[in-house]
């Protein structure tokens, strides 16, 4: 039983949340209702006296100025139906958790163990039928995976006499705290079946390797001595599956690949990672002097200035976001924050980036089973990242939203975070850390529940019927914020030796990895704090419950560490200690239940052997469309999903917290022009800064995977150059998202997809070496497919390239908006007939044409010259030419500055006007220059392809001439409106 407090905005006041929902129902679902009012419901599952209930109702739950409330009575009025939505058992309920704290404060006493508050929400709807309300609940309000809902009429509500509409989400399902033995002495097909049924995501060779380990007489003797059965325990098998998962071991990137190149030559590649990624950093690392820690920590670390280091990491959270966009994306952002918090001795997060890939929100076809409409995915992912970032107090400074039909099968949610740390912390270099034997294993932050069990193995599989709901979690940014604040203090006091986050694989992963240096660990799983009773030991070890870090605390610091945690109201628990035994050992209530050789655990996984060969490319004739007037084409391209303004989404991110903002996402006279790179000055009293940009080009994947990668790198780099960054200061981060590239019955084109991956890695290596960009960290997500029944949707191979540059003086940064009438307009860079995959062709429905080819050596020289011009103060505005080509870049620069342009493209010498306007050739910029600096600018850019096109005008006309007369004639207001209208949500 529980007492229910219902709270609503006073009936005579407008209810903004209700009004916003009403508008969204109309917009997203085409459902019109007369009215919606929102009522917050707090089900108080605690023994409170009537006086206490009244006290918390008045003092805690009700705003005396604008709200009304009642205890155990429905307060909705004038409605036809109430939809109530609440969580399912075990789902993170942040408001419920905060309510408990509020009640304890108000009453001045602690609630008893097990006493809690469950938050739910009612929507009192007028002017809709029951069936409509059910559709609203299902399609807009509730996600059945994590939420329960009910629709009741006014009569039904009255009959309940204030009773609960929904059942209380109390976790009643209990796993027994027993450990089972698993028999691996079974036929091969049974091993494969076991891997599938237990969601281990291991293939036959891997299962056989485990089988062989347990057959080894030495292992058997050791197990007997340790009091363990000869057969593996369930927890051991789970630890191995997690540690060996594609997600954690990157087996495809480390595989031995037989690659047949487009010329028919076959050779072996021993690990894409070593051959292309690591090799890049090794080569470039000899040319730059600012690399501090790469590849072996949670994030790459470089030097920022004499006293500070900078860490960068990006992660994807695709599969969870497909199932629950809000919770999946939120755990994505707060999860990557923990990577930074666990980088080196623990960095302070200073910015987030976010890049999303979706199918069109205007998609009107069938939605395959278990998938959500892209519009709902977009709204949910955005809201999750927004709440996760804003509540954590970390500014979002750069990102993108990319659309492609095949992201219907799986959305991509890339979340990146940068962090700063003093170079020396508590007298030690902050980028080096190591747990020592004897150090206590401490888990801090949130508690453990069944949430996220099998996340690591789940993300190593395609989305299928059996995809587990427990793989979905909701983040709790405030618990994490408290923990992060506490850890910064503990770090500066020197209270720990090593720190890492609990992400995929939970404790199994964090303890298992941290134990590598000391050479072993002992963990007592019954000591771990749980959200609710009834978890099996293996579930405790594998749970991916959020907001947790694992630390190695030396014995002489443990008291101080725990005391500080208590004073900060952060949970911290000693679970065991690191050893040098060579074994990872788990105990439950004093009994040993797992003992695995560290060597086998980390090095026992068999190397994958894969085949790669590009399928012959279909011929793609290039159809050149020629017109007399391109004005409507330009408007259509500006309005296209990949080009149009995303301002209504970006405005909802806090991008200025920490007060370090220099160049924001939106720039210009009305703060609405699209910036190229985010720039911040993270250290007070220093003008040194960081520029951050992203490049992502899945639209080229089907044409040419090599070009897709090269263009993504170039896009990120030219964004940095555009704001004033310098070559030689840029570090890169690669995040691969691929469809399954392993040839099999369900993936008959695996060889081709793997060959695309090879081509992509070759581009990564060649371009980054040419640009002197070390790859400081990265990640891959290799199973981005949807397969249910006969429907299979594979995403286009996609790489997000994140680039960051240290800038000497942010006061030299340049924004993209034109500044003054009379300034001269230049294009910098060569334009070729490269319309394949272009936004213009997408608008026209053309599929032909070649993808843009990058010429990195020429580009590099151009970037160096342009940087020199910017550093010398010769440039008034600079904007990169990217999606939509030159015409889009010119229009954006003009309307951002609120001024017109009069231009002639003939001096470019491109034969075809459509090519000149819309080709997406790489490494190009639109630059404006004050007339008195034009000579110096032209001299600085000599040989780099700077061509004067015209000037900025003191009116609102945007006019472009070409070989066939006036090509575009519009006002900047029209163009801006076309650009803003599509996603003005």
């Amino acid at each position: 039983m529980a007492d229910r407090i219902e709270v609503a905005i006073l009936a005579d006041r407008p209810d903004p949340a209700g009004q916003a929902l009403r508008a969204r129902l109309h917009e997203d679902l085409g459902i019109t209702v007369a009215d919606v009012r929102v009522i917050d419901v707090y089900a108080i599952h605690a023994a409170l006296t009537p006086e206490e209930l009244e006290r918390v109702r008045v003092e805690l739950f009700t705003d005396p100025i604008i709200q009304e409330s009642a205890v155990n009575r429905s307060i909705a009025r004038h409605y036809d139906f109430i939809i109530e939505v609440g969580f399912r058992p075990g789902v993170t309920d942040n408001v419920g958790r905060s309510s408990v704290e509020g009640i304890q404060d108000t009453l001045g006493r602690a609630l008893a163990p097990g006493e809690t508050v469950f938050k739910s929400r009612q929507y009192a709807v007028r002017g809709a039928t029951r069936a409509t309300c059910e559709a609203i609940a299902r399609r807009a309000l509730a996600n059945d995976l994590i939420e329960q809902w009910v629709v009741n009429s006014a009569e039904e509500v009255a009959a309940l006499r204030g009773g609960s509409l929904l059942g209380l989400p109390i976790v009643t399902e209990r796993s027994e705290a027993v450990v089972h033995e698993v028999d691996l002495e079974i036929p091969d097909d049974a091993l494969v079946a076991m891997s599938r049924d237990r969601m281990l995501a291991l293939d036959l060779r891997e299962m056989q390797a485990i089988q062989a380990y347990y057959r080894d007489p030495g292992v058997r003797a050791q197990r007997e001595k340790a009091g363990l059965p000869p057969r593996p325990t369930d927890i051991e098998l789970e630890i191995l599956a997690q540690t060996w998962s594609e997600h954690c071991k990157h087996k495809i990137f480390n595989a031995l690949i037989r690659y047949t190149d487009p010329d028919g030559n076959t050779h072996e590649i021993d690990s894409l990672f070593k051959t292309y990624v690591k090799a890049t950093t090794e080569i470039v690392g000899k040319r730059v002097d600012w690399l501090m820690s790469v590849f072996h920590d949670n994030a790459g670390i470089i030097r920022f200035d004499e006293n500070h280091l900078f860490a960068l990491k990006a992660e994807t959270h695709n599969s969870p976001s497909a199932l629950d966009p809000y919770g999946g994306a939120m755990t994505g952002i707060v999860g990557v924050n923990r990577d930074i918090l666990g980088a080196g001795m623990g960095c302070r997060c200073i910015f987030n980036t976010d890049v999303f890939c979706f199918a069109s929100p205007f998609y009107d076809g069938e939605i395959p089973e278990r998938l959500l409409h892209p519009r709902r995915v977009l709204r949910g992912v955005h809201a999750g990242v927004k709440d996760g970032g804003n509540q954590s107090g970390i500014p979002d400074i750069n990102g993108a939203i990319v659309f492609h039909d095949r992201f219907l099968g799986k959305p991509l949610v890339f979340c990146g975070t940068g962090g700063l740390i003093p170079a020396v912390v508590a007298g030690r270099p902050s980028h080096i850390k190591q747990a020592l034997p004897g150090d206590r294993i401490v888990m801090t932050g949130g508690r453990i529940g069944k949430d996220g069990i099998h996340g690591a193995t789940f993300s190593s599989e395609e989305l299928h019927e059996g995809s587990p709901a427990t793989a979905v979690q909701i983040g709790d940014p405030i618990t994490q914020k408290k923990m992060a604040d506490f850890l910064m203090e503990a770090r500066d006091f020197g209270l720990y030796n090593c720190i890492t986050d609990n992400g995929a694989g939970g404790l199994s992963s964090s303890v298992g990895e941290m134990a590598q240096k000391p050479g072993g660990a002992v963990v007592h799983l019954d000591r771990a704090p749980l959200k609710y009773a009834g978890l099996a030991p293996w579930e405790i070890f594998l749970s991916e419950a959020q907001e947790r870090m694992t630390l190695a605390v030396p014995p002489d610091k443990i008291e101080a560490f725990l005391d500080l945690a208590r004073r900060r109201e952060v949970e911290a628990t000693v679970l065991g200690e690191f050893t040098d035994s060579g074994f990872l050992e788990c105990f439950y209530e004093g009994r040993r239940i797992a003992s695995l050789s560290m060597d086998f655990l980390h090095n026992g996984v068999p190397k994958m052997r894969l085949e790669a060969e590009l399928a012959p490319a279909p011929p793609r004739p290039d159809i050149r469309v020629a017109r007399a007037d391109y004005t409507d084409d330009l408007k259509a391209v500006l309005a296209s999903l990949n080009v149009c303004s995303k301002e209504s989404f970006v405005r909802m991110y806090d991008h200025e917290v920490l007060a370090q903002s220099v160049l924001k996402e939106f720039q210009g006279v009305c703060h609405d022009g699209p910036g190229d790179a985010g720039v911040i000055k993270p250290v007070p009293d220093s003008w040194k800064g960081l520029a951050v940009a992203c490049g992502i080009c899945p639209k080229y994947s089907d044409l040419d995977a090599y070009a897709m990668m090269a263009c993504a790198i170039d896009e990120a780099v030219r964004n940095l150059i555009a704001v004033g960054a310098r070559m030689g200061t840029i570090a890169g981060l690669d995040n691969f998202c691929w469809p399954d590239p392993v040839q099999s019955e369900k993936t008959p084109d695996g060889r081709h997809k793997l060959a695309q991956l090879v081509r992509c890695c070759q581009a990564l290596h060649e371009v980054c070496v040419a640009y002197d960009i070390p790859l400081i960290s990265g990640k891959d997500s290799m199973k981005n497919d949807y397969k249910i029944g006969d429907t299979k949707i594979s995403i286009p191979p996609t790489v997000l390239f994140t680039a960051v540059a240290v800038m000497d003086d942010v006061r030299r940064a340049v924004s993209m908006d034109v500044k003054r009438p009379g300034d001269l307009v230049y294009i910098v860079g060569e334009t070729r007939a490269e319309l394949g995959g272009s936004e213009w062709y997408a608008v026209l429905g053309e599929t032909g044409g070649a993808a843009p080819q990058l010429h990195p050596r020429t580009a590099r020289t151009r970037y160096e010259k342009l940087h020199a011009a910017i550093a010398a103060g010769l440039v008034a505005s600079c904007h990169d030419c990217s999606d939509g080509g030159l015409a889009v870049a010119l229009a954006e620069s003009a309307f951002a500055g609120g001024l017109g342009m009069r231009l002639d493209l003939c001096p470019m010498g491109v034969g075809h006007d459509g090519v000149a306007l819309f080709s997406e050739s790489q490494s190009r910029f639109v630059v404006t220059v004050a007339p008195d600096r034009a000579a110096a600018f032209e001299a600085a850019l000599a040989g780099a392809g700077a061509v004067r096109l015209g000037e900025v005008t003191n009116d609102d006309r945007f006019v472009i001439q070409g070989s066939a007369g006036v090509l575009v004639n519009a006002t900047i207001t029209e163009l801006k409106d076309a650009w803003q209208r599509t996603l003005r949500w």
Binding site: P14, P16, A17, Q19, A20, D40, L60, F61, D63, P64, I65, I66, V95, S98, S99, E101, G102, D105, T106, G108, K386, N390, Q391, S392, G393, P477, I478, K481, K482, D485, R567, R568, E569, R651, M652, Y653, D654, H655, E656, V657, L658, A659, Q660, S661, V662, L663, K664, F666, Q667, G668, V669, H671, K681, P684, R811, A813, S815, D817, K819, G897
Partner: protein, 264 residues
């Protein structure tokens, strides 16, 4: 030799503008230190030794139940008496964004009769969205507020979802006006009143109210973030306008430090 002005910047439980608020007060000349709420509750003497208390922006307790509500209660129950004494000693308090929400819900503002009574609220923006955008503010020249002395106009960012200011009733609004307790209002770029028009008034606040003070002018709360405009490069149009190197938001903190140096 002027006294050292000591400032305490509250931290903990989801407050997240504490670092930059500390920086701003330091640049304004104060000896500023972040103090965790629990440390302050354990040792209220710290408050007694300080001259300025800042309750920064953030998402205390995730804005759960209502923005600022849980932190307001916690401050009232754990630090009510020391804060009362701090105010009685003539010292200064500023609440920014979430800090303003906390002060309003705790009743530190408007503090009409020297009692912690909630007379106003800050609630969901009319748009029902969190938004980050720069706004124009007009300061009330007739306000006794010490924090805004010498400031007529100001451009600052807002970053909130619950910034709509609503007084209990007309009488409260009138009283605020009569006392000069309405300190800053949202306005148009030319200084004309916003009169509720979006985006100039970004949240639908009654009478375009962006910040209020107590009758003495020493206790001040506002939704926009002065601590986020301390360098000219924070301004969204610094690449196209010529601005002084120091951000205009810093003057708010300078005013407080100067007042404290003189009066405390």
């Amino acid at each position: 030799m002027p006294v050292t002005v000591k400032a305490i910047i509250l931290t903990g439980f989801g407050i997240n503008c504490d670092n930059e608020t500390t920086q701003a007060l330091r640049r304004a000349g104060a000896d500023a230190a972040r103090v965790h709420l629990n440390d302050l509750a354990a040792n209220p003497e710290l408050l007694h030794r300080a001259h300025i208390l800042a309750i920064p922006g953030g998402f205390s307790f995730g804005d759960d139940i209502a923005s600022g509500k849980i932190l307001a209660n916690r401050l009232r129950y754990r630090l009510g008496a020391p804060i009362r004494r701090f105010i009685a000693d003539g010292k200064l308090i500023i609440g920014i964004c979430n800090g303003f929400q906390v002060m309003v819900k705790m009743g530190i503002l408007p503090f009409f009769d020297g009692e912690f009574v909630q007379e106003t609220t800050l609630t969901n923006n009319d748009s029902s969205r969190f938004e980050n955008r720069w706004v124009h503010l007009a300061a009330n020249p007739d306000s006794p507020c010490v924090w805004t002395r010498g400031i007529a106009r100001l451009e600052l960012p807002i970053r909130h979802g619950e910034g709509k200011f609503i007084p209990r009733d007309e009488a409260v609004l009138r009283r605020l006006g009569d006392n000069g307790q309405i300190v800053v209002r949202y306005c148009r770029p030319d200084g004309a009143p916003a009169r509720g028009a979006f985006p100039f008034n970004p949240n639908g606040a009654v009478d375009d109210i962006a910040g209020i003070c107590d009758p003495s002018g020493r206790i001040f709360g506002m939704m926009p973030h002065p601590e986020a405009f301390v360098d000219f490069t924070n301004h969204p149009r610094w690449t196209r306008e010529s601005l002084p190197e120091e951000g205009a938001g810093l003057q708010v903190f300078r005013n407080a430090v100067e007042y404290a140096e003189r009066a405390l």
